[in-house]
Symmetry: C2
Subunit: 584 residues, 2 copies
């Protein structure tokens, strides 16, 4: 319908006859003329109705048209004149003098302004998502997601990866979260499950000789939705066979850096690799943001004979530590503000928070400093690189818990102090522990997945100290978020069964749930490994927003509702009866 | 792990040291040497174990290895010698003399041979799909699908279409077939539905200003599965706004011909357009294969005063016809074979089948010819271009039913006579009727979709003769299959409501089911139209197979089962209780 978009006309187009389509954005009457910002997905162009030039219908349209009416206009591009140039607009040098216009539809008054930076409640935006998406910033986010998705597909396709679609209606194979189930009508009383990930299917594809697989896969988890979770999400799922871990990781680095480059983001390779334990030790996190310091400092030996009993006791207990971080700048905070940090630390598992504020005037403010000797203080200052204005916070207790508390505080303080984090930060965290201990189930649980390949040289630890066992795993960390994760898989049927049994599966239950995988492994499964990239999260980081909902067209609320269509909703009893069910 | 694939070594690589990985395919002992075909996804390479050259382990491996063991071999490429060249193999000029080998895994004996052209029952192939996929022809089909999918994505991306992911968990909005429903745990007693297509969502995206949208979308229909149906299937979903029908169709032609070209298939544009009624009239089908003739011939006027009452009566009834097709070559069939055709015709709705076999010797065999005058026979011979060896078949009765019977017979005879159909055949069928009459529901139903734009100049027919109303629709026909379909959409809220009411929706029910769409249309919806390409079917046609199951990695049986994982299956009562359900 149009010959040009609303984003492309420049001074060099002056004199050109054009047809534009778009939505009426702003309308201004000025000295007998009517000006209007016409908006399409490419931008905004000022159009100008003049009773001298515009035909009668066009001017009548201009007088009656209201915001968000889609219209078509025909006219000539002209210079705005030096004074009227709008430097904020790409098309700001020109305007289109309309001679003919056509109303394509009318619009009710929208519930919020269609422009960037609105303060409308998110529920309203979701209720009228089709209007929210018209806002330039939302349109740009959808475009960015489309571009990045295409970029990573291209990077994979160029490297001879085969895209394979795996079924959405599959077998319930719990992987930690709850399945969404789908009742079958042809087999009443039986259910499909929506995949939590195509993990098993991609392993079967490796057994099937695909060798290099990818899929941009919709995944489903029926979890209680936290702020940044959605019941359905998308991952770029990748798997390779006849490979070793280094093959997979360097191939992934190639693919990712190519994909990021295609959207203008540089990811230098090879990526830094930090082991899980080093990451925990240094940053208190298995997904550290390394664009800033504030590293964890081990002070265990310093306080071995401290008068401060909490520290001394931790320092003298096997597996316990005394550690600290130094939040530069927070030492000037008023006492009341510092006191509130204990509550923050509690959300990371701390029972309290010991701290020392080093005031600008050289004095100290701290509930605990009175217990410390000069030697202890000197060593603390030295190791923590203390300057006036610093706030040092401590954790004392079991190593992992202490690391996690300080890791949480590190991230909190970086936000609170607005620590600059420019550009993007990419790294691998590798060698995750194979198991963790599940207190509720009183059993060992896979840290990554039950199919993850252990460090084969540590298999003897299975009987001795299973929590010390490492695994062939690698998480891709971007800007302090777990943006992806992967690992090598067990391709030996016996080892797979042994691992499942160790995790408390009876052979019978293992066969019932994963029998088809274990059977497949018996038919010449090759060595394999793979990866899944969290597409929503990566797009969120690329778009510079703080919610994955901003990079999804139609996200759900935390109760799993689509506010626009009012899903989920009731279905008829007849429909339930057909699938052999009734309401409780 | 490997330096080369099993498909790439040629005479010019002789002397090169290589490492290959793959599966043991065939093993032959010959004069103290052991030969083996090693297979990976790229091809087959002959490897050769020789006790003089191979290290001891390697030769021991060669002696014990069994089919489908994955192995790694290192060795040197050498000429096979003129006599031993295998011209059927791309690598047939060379072999690799192994010096070192490694067993990567063992394998049980597979239930069928891993090679092309096996006659194994499909159930067995599906049960062990991971083995079936190792067969070269299946691997090639998956690759073709991946390539074509990437081709059409590229064609769309290059034309500034934005890929948008729409939710899989959405509202139940019946579009003709049954929905799969998904119980909600966070809102017990409520259900999501899996989308039959993203139709409503893409229209909302147009209201949202996306302008050019695409998605390779998984769709779900809970239907009784016929041979070539699957509960989940994939469509390339496309929508555009601020467009007229010709804009959409020419853009689609560009996209499709670009995509086909990228996989080596020429689709000349502009495509031929046949109206729905012309297609029915000429080919008895709204998805005709025009690579061969056998067109329907109208003989209604010829038999207006025939002594054969069946024909005369049809010829004298308003809206009834007498039509025929000429199946060249079938006139020589024995009577018994011809008689069986009546049963075939019955599957297309015929109550019987009138026919004339023109024998090679100039005689005729027919149960009805005795009723015909010489003039009738002469005109029949002329219009049907009769030659010796022809079989003319008739249908007499209501126009559409007669066309459908002959259309079905045309297609059946083309198969039976092995009529050559070379290359691919692409065309548009346009201007479908807006409604058909639903006998069961006693109401008018949308032929395409309830959101399809009617021919606006025919709106007056709504009261006079609704079945005569045309719609702004276009089906993409490939090789006699409906490969895609599209249309312009209603963007006027009032017209949409009027159409839904005409199709028997109360305003209340329309608002309950489609209220969010109708509300969206009230906020300045632009003119829009779109398309959906049936990806499974197009890939099937490109692969030259006759079942979409052959181009899906893990298809389901006609009872909706996945034979490999035994889905669907039972879930625990606790799991049901959580979503507020119990078994009937």
């Amino acid at each position: 319908m149009h010959t040009r978009t609303c984003g492309e006309l420049r001074a060099e187009n002056v004199g050109e006859e054009v047809t534009l389509t778009g939505w009426v954005s702003r309308r201004r009457d000025h000295g007998g003329l009517i000006f209007c910002d016409l908006r399409d997905r490419e931008g905004i162009t000022q159009i100008n109705f003049d009773p001298e030039h515009s035909d009668g219908d066009a001017f009548k349209i201009a007088e009656t048209m209201r915001p968000e009416w889609p219209i078509l206009v025909h006219g000539v591009v002209r210079d705005r004149g030096h004074d009227a140039v709008n430097p904020k607009l790409a098309t700001g040098e020109i305007e289109v003098l309309v001679d003919h216009a056509q109303v394509l539809n009318r619009s009710k008054t929208p519930p919020f302004q269609i422009e960037d930076g609105i303060e409308t409640a998110e529920d309203t935006r979701l209720r009228y998502r089709y209007l929210d998406l018209r806002r330039p910033e939302m349109a740009a986010r959808l475009r960015l997601r489309s571009d990045f998705t295409f970029a990573i597909r291209s990077a994979l396709h160029d490297r001879a990866f085969t895209e394979v679609e795996t079924p959405a209606l599959f077998k319930s194979t719990p992987e930690g979260a709850r399945d969404f189930v789908v009742p079958s009508r042809l087999q009443p009383g039986n259910f499909y499950a929506l995949p939590q990930s195509p993990q098993l299917l991609k392993q079967l594809l490796m057994v099937g000789g695909v060798e290099r697989y990818y899929q941009v896969a919709k995944c489903f988890r029926d979890e209680d939705l936290r702020a940044d979770r959605q019941p359905e999400f998308t991952q770029v799922d990748i798997e390779m066979s006849f490979v070793e871990q280094d093959d997979v990781m360097s191939q992934l680095e190639d693919v990712l850096s190519d994909a990021f480059a295609r959207v203008g983001v540089e990811m230098p390779t090879p990526l830094r690799r930090i082991s899980y334990w080093d990451a925990m030790d240094t940053y208190g996190s298995d997904k550290p943001d390394t664009r800033y310091g504030m590293e964890l400092v081990d002070l265990t030996d310093v306080f071995a004979s401290s008068a401060f009993k909490v520290f001394a006791s931790a320092a003298n207990t096997q597996g316990h530590v005394v550690k600290a971080i130094n939040a530069k700048g927070a030492g000037t905070w008023p006492r009341a503000q510092i006191d509130k940090l204990a509550k923050v630390a509690a959300t990371f598992g701390a029972k309290g928070l010991a701290w020392i504020a080093f005031r600008e005037d050289g004095s100290m403010n701290s509930p605990i400093v009175k217990f410390f000797t000069d030697e202890e203080m000197d060593e603390l200052r030295r190791r923590c690189d203390v300057e006036p204005g610093d706030l040092v916070m401590f954790a004392a207790g079991p190593r992992r818990e202490s690391d996690e508390i300080l890791g949480g505080m590190r991230s909190h303080m970086a936000d609170a102090l607005n620590v600059p984090r420019e550009g993007h930060d990419f790294l691998w965290v590798v060698d995750f522990p194979l198991f963790h201990w599940d207190e509720d189930g009183q059993r060992y649980e896979a840290e990554h997945q039950p199919f993850t390949l252990p460090h084969l040289d540590e298999l003897h630890l299975l009987d001795e100290d299973p929590l010390k066992m490492g695994s062939c795993t690698y998480d891709f960390v971007m800007d302090g978020f777990e943006a992806g994760g992967g690992g090598m898989r067990i391709h030996d049927a016996e080892l797979q069964l042994k691992m499942l049994e160790f995790m408390g599966f009876t052979e019978e239950r293992a066969r019932a749930q994963f029998g088809f995988l274990m059977e497949a492994l018996e038919f010449g499964a090759p060595p394999m490994g793979g990866f899944a990239l969290g597409l929503d999260r990566v797009c969120m980081l690329l778009a510079g927003t703080d919610s994955i909902r901003d990079v999804m067209a139609f996200p759900k609320t935390s109760s799993g509702s689509d506010l626009m269509s009012a899903a989920p909703s009731k279905v008829s009893l007849a429909q339930l009866k057909e699938v052999g069910l009734r309401l409780e």
